[in-house]
């Protein structure tokens, strides 16, 4: 006998009742009311979820409600009721071995999506993005930067013109892809910095030009930035973070979760790793073009050393390592760039190859 409540159809009036079965028949016994009886196949049984009260609708539309889920399951199994098959979900949801499998699969697919799926999709999309869209994005970004952290360049106009002419006549002919490259000079509170926007705008700060002792050093930085443009790193980053945000909203079902530090932290860590690979790729691009133009790649290493000796408060700075010894630990964590020594070694290796080729 399964104990529970009996409700008349559509009514909240309830009475204590019991349901019992013999063979193919069920009987509901309720004090002061005639027994209800019928074929077990005619019962409509709600699916089991955890241990919430089970609802059994009788043929006369009255409802029998019970918390004795196990007894109901036994009855369904014994009589081969069709609701028995739906019980498979409850089995999945209660056996630890299935839970372990589900957990493992979820973690694996989550990891694979974030680690490989999203970078792949961002890459494909970044390369498929029409020029009109990248132009719009870059224009907007430069506008915001100009209103916030960038100031007008203090560099003499003749010097700007000379650098721009050099950029157009020496560096641009090395490019095989058609981007609308534009060189912008800006002041940025004495921070040596250079960065690229997706459409081909390259911004270089006064401080960086002052730091450089030769044209070759400036060229090294500019080629590195062109490398970011050619490989569409900026677009990929933007798309990647959009995908992550979207995924977080979908998984957590909550748009406000994105502001949550618990969510922001892993996103941040993933992205800084992602952009380290980008820096290496842009470096390699710069080294190859420099060799092509007859510039010794060692200049890249020289300018980078100068930059990394200086203050660097901006995490978006490119072509710059950010180690000043005391803050090395903290800043290495916040830095989106590969550690300077590694990049210097790379530059020296390319420089050796470059000189070997010259001497041959």
């Amino acid at each position: 006998m399964i104990k529970g409540w009996l409700y008349p159809a559509d009514s909240s009036a309830r009475s204590a009742a019991g349901l019992s079965a013999s063979g193919e028949r069920f009987t509901v016994i309720c004090d002061g009311q005639p027994n209800v009886t019928g074929s077990i196949r005619e019962l409509v049984v709600s699916q089991r979820v955890g241990n919430i009260p089970r609802k059994i609708t009788l043929p006369d539309r009255s409802l029998f409600e019970t918390t004795d889920n196990d007894a109901v399951d036994e009855l369904l199994a014994a009589t081969g009721h069709r609701a028995h098959r739906a019980g498979i979900l409850h089995i999945l949801e209660t056996r630890w071995q299935w839970i372990a499998v589900a957990l493992l699969l979820t973690l694996l697919s989550g990891f694979a999506t974030v680690r490989w799926g999203m970078p792949w999709a961002s890459r494909e999309l970044a390369f498929a993005m029409p020029a009109r869209a990248t132009e719009a994005i870059s224009e907007q970004a430069l506008g915001i930067l100009d209103r916030t952290i960038l100031g007008e360049s203090a560099l003499p106009v003749e010097e700007q013109q000379r650098l721009r002419r050099h950029f157009e006549t020496t560096l641009l002919p090395l490019q095989h892809e058609t981007f609308n490259y534009r060189l912008h000079f800006r002041h940025m509170s004495d921070i040596p910095n250079a960065f690229a926007l997706p459409a081909g705008d390259i911004i270089i700060t006064d401080r960086l030009i002052k730091l450089a002792d030769s044209q070759e050093e400036i060229d090294a930085v500019l080629l590195h930035e062109i490398g970011h443009v050619v490989h569409r790193h900026g677009l990929q980053q933007v798309l990647h973070s959009s995908f992550l945000t979207l995924a977080i909203i979908m998984v957590s079902g909550d748009a406000s979760a994105t502001g949550n530090i618990a969510v922001a932290l892993p996103v941040f860590l993933l992205q800084s790793h992602y952009s380290r690979e980008d820096e290496t790729e842009a470096d390699r691009y710069a080294f190859e073009r420099m060799a092509e133009a007859g510039i010794d790649p060692v200049h890249f290493s020289t300018i980078m050393e100068k930059i990394s000796g200086g203050p660097d408060g901006d995490s978006e700075s490119d072509a710059a390592g950010t180690e000043s010894q005391e803050d090395a630990d903290l800043l290495k964590y916040l830095s989106t760039h590969p550690p300077t020594p590694e990049r210097r070694l790379q530059a020296e290796m390319y420089s050796r190859q470059f000189r070997e080729r010259l001497s041959r």
């Binding site: 241990n51 919430i52 949801e93 957990l103």
Partner: protein
């Protein structure tokens, strides 16, 4: 005899209880998640129904739980419609930008209708003791409280701006800025009133069977709660500002000493670590203060709303959640989420349901035996599905 004992149990104070457990829900959640992934999101409709049934069914009062009746297929259909609409919007945005603006405007105009439909759907899909809830709010009121009144200040300012332009020819840009500032300020001042009006509409339009639910909410109480919240925020802001200023002064001294070196051509080695740690510390303290403010608002409003919910003359709800308790609850949740990278989510959901149930009681003055499910008027299925699809109940945050 049986009749007599039953009546004794049913009158008086009935506490709400949440009978689920974090471990049990974790298993349901993880199976939902993996089946959702394996079916490319199709299972999510079934997952939603199972999740709702788990939480409704385990929220118990008067010896029984609530029930959620939605058909997963209806929800799936709704989600497909939503995805299709989104695709149309994205495509239009790419190909015909002017069309997409029209689409965005129509979505804005349709929002109250979608929310209204969703309220109907959710009410109708909920039952307690074999009797369905219903939502009978008028569409007109939905538009009044969700679209018309909230946009009055902005529309007025827009109109005034146009008039100004015609009358004076070329007014100073400053007067337009003033107009916009005033409009935003008035909108902002209306927030407590709107929240009160929408909540009263939402609850007062619900029925339990033929029974009428109502919430007599006080506008004054809403404004007082917001006023106190502002007061607390300002006090905390000043306090944090003072402490931070002192901290910055101490760490800033090192920087000032280095400044002359920077001008002299040699690069200064600025010690960033203490500066950064002070900034991080301030950020964390601000975040905790923000959580406290959120807890205060939620606790006070929830208590006020629940203490005024009545079902006919039969039942009166009572909520007694303390700000401190809710604040501690939010903090623990945040730590759990950080430490487990989100895997603690099911436990947090269960903890939340349990906290809300534990602080809620029903005062019964009569029998709940007299209620009967009403036959609902014919309602278009498509509206249900669109309303369901946008899942607006989650976004309409009434803070209770």
């Amino acid at each position: 005899m049986e009749q007599a004992t039953r009546t004794d149990i049913e009158t008086g104070i009935q506490p709400f209880q949440f009978t689920g457990s974090g471990g049990e829900y974790f298993k349901i959640w993880i199976v939902n998640l993996i089946l959702g992934i394996l079916t490319l999101g199709i299972y999510s409709a079934w997952a939603k129904v199972r999740t709702n049934r788990y939480f409704y069914g385990n929220t118990q009062v008067d010896n029984t739980g609530f029930e959620y009746h939605a058909n997963p297929l209806a929800i799936l259909k709704g989600r497909l419609i939503a995805v299709a609409l989104l695709l149309i919007y994205v495509l239009a945005d790419q190909l015909f930008p002017s069309v997409s603006a029209v689409l965005a405007l129509s979505l804005l105009l349709a929002t109250p209708w979608i929310i209204w439909k969703s309220m109907q759907f959710n009410a109708r899909m909920t039952s307690f003791r074999n009797v369905r809830f219903g939502f009978y709010g008028s569409l007109q009121d939905a538009y009044r409280y969700l679209l018309f009144i909230p946009t009055i200040p902005l529309l007025t300012a827009l109109l005034a701006g146009i008039v100004m332009w015609f009358v004076t020819g070329s007014p100073e840009p400053g007067s337009y800025v003033m107009l916009a500032v005033v409009a935003f300020l008035v909108t902002w001042l209306m927030v407590p009133f709107l929240q009160q009006a929408i909540t009263a509409y939402y609850i007062g339009s619900h029925r339990y069977g033929q029974g009428l639910l109502q919430a007599d909410l006080s506008i004054k109480r809403y404004y007082l709660i917001y006023l106190y919240m502002m007061g607390w925020s300002i006090l905390m802001f000043i306090g944090i500002g003072l402490v931070a200023g002192v901290g910055m002064m101490f760490t800033g001294l090192g920087m000032a000493a280095m400044a002359p070196a920077a001008d002299g051509g040699e690069l200064a080695q600025i010690n960033l670590a203490p500066m950064l740690s002070v900034i991080v510390l301030i950020y964390i303290v601000m975040m905790i203060a923000g959580i406290w403010v959120k807890a205060y608002l939620k606790a006070k409003i929830r208590n006020h709303v629940f203490n005024n919910i009545k079902l006919d003359h039969v039942m009166q709800l009572q909520s007694s959640i303390a700000t401190g308790r809710l604040f501690g609850f939010y903090l623990v949740n945040m730590l759990l989420m950080i430490c487990t990278l989100g895997l603690a989510w099911p436990w947090i959901k269960v903890r939340s349901a349990r906290l809300m149930a534990d602080t809620t009681q029903a005062h019964l003055a009569g029998s709940l035996d007299e209620y009967v499910s009403l036959q609902q008027r014919g309602q278009s299925a498509i509206g249900d599905e669109v309303g369901e699809a946008f899942d607006v109940d989650a976004n309409l945050d009434l803070a209770f």
